[in-house]
Symmetry: C2
């Protein structure tokens, strides 16, 4: 069996290229060079070519890439040629924000169930969805064939929620709680730490101040 | 003037190492090897050594790194040896979530002003902060010597908010609106796209399914 090892940084950039191509397509642009993609997203042209080379031959020398084709292809590689139903746990502020987040729908992500164990939240509506008690999760997972869960609960509750998701068949978890989770082999987990990008800013601001001295 | 060019991916990983070191320190661990850091955060030991080498000589061969020293040093490099006051615009669900986000305080980030132009939101309290009208921003920026702004408004309002922030002296912006912003040279801007990490999950799930065939 052929195994393709693609660095996570490449997948991340592919996701960013793909979004940039969508934007070009919306604006009626039909062809684009690696240099233009590079400038549009802030990496080097060589990086763009190297990243795309993981997935085959694209573009025509001297002509560049067909925007629509490359956009479709990047989305297909990312698994975005289908809809992805998402299970969300945590009907707090972050949960509300995620349910109404405009950036999900456009990429084929759809939250199909919102769960909480707080009795004051269960039964309320977020967007079009009724907040359900945790024990309803297996039913919703099955109904929508969901594979991905999102954790938007306080840190102390996150491990229990993750265990419950895995027990009920979810295969991948996006964790917004600022805490490291222990999960069985084979479960894909990624943490969204909202302060990491802030620290890139502070690094750059600190560096700028040092240069001024 | 000596110019240090550090790749953004290195700064991102430094932020992740730093957090891992904090965790080790809280758990009473005093020394750690590059291999242990690598395993703890999911990169190669060579990558850890290469990243740290940008900033000088650390650790003792065969002994490893002193956890407390390396933690302090990584925080210093990231500019986290000081408090960073943050200006937040957008008192919607995401704004609420950011105000109560546990991951900020521990890294020295403190939201000092929340602004909105929605009259139904102005005057309400989020956490300890009263939501203020936009025109109060200059005063709060000056009072706290704030340099960083966070945008948590709908996509259509994001550019105006960014322009207003820059006009009032903010130097760096973290943008949660899923839209690309145009800003003058010299302003640091980073976008948090909440679906990028989801796409790493779908990439991996798609790859797993392909392997099963």
């Amino acid at each position: 069996m052929k195994t393709l090892r693609v660095p996570e940084a490449t997948v991340t950039r592919l996701s960013i290229y793909s979004r940039y191509l969508e934007r070009l397509d919306r604006n009626g642009v039909t062809t684009v060079s690696s240099g233009e993609i590079a400038e549009g997203v802030g990496v080097s042209p060589a990086q763009v070519r190297k990243d795309l080379a993981y997935f085959g031959e694209f573009g025509t020398r001297g002509v560049g890439y067909n925007v629509k084709d490359l956009m479709r292809y990047t989305k297909k590689i990312l698994g975005l040629d289908q809809e992805w139903p998402l299970i969300l746990v945590g009907a707090g502020n972050l949960g509300y924000a995620l349910c109404t987040y405009k950036g999900f729908n456009s990429r084929g992500f759809k939250i199909v169930g919102v769960f909480d164990n707080d009795l004051t939240k269960i039964g309320k509506k977020i967007a079009e969805l009724e907040v359900l008690p945790m024990e309803k999760m297996p039913e919703i997972i099955q109904e929508h064939k969901a594979r991905i869960g999102i954790i938007a609960v306080p840190p102390r509750a996150a491990q229990d929620v993750a265990d419950f998701m895995v027990k009920n068949g979810l295969e991948a978890i996006l964790n917004f709680a600022p805490v490291a989770l222990n999960l069985p082999e084979g479960i894909e987990i990624r943490n969204v730490d909202l302060s990491v990008k802030l620290e890139i800013l502070t690094f750059n601001l600190g560096f700028k101040s040092a240069q001024r001295l």
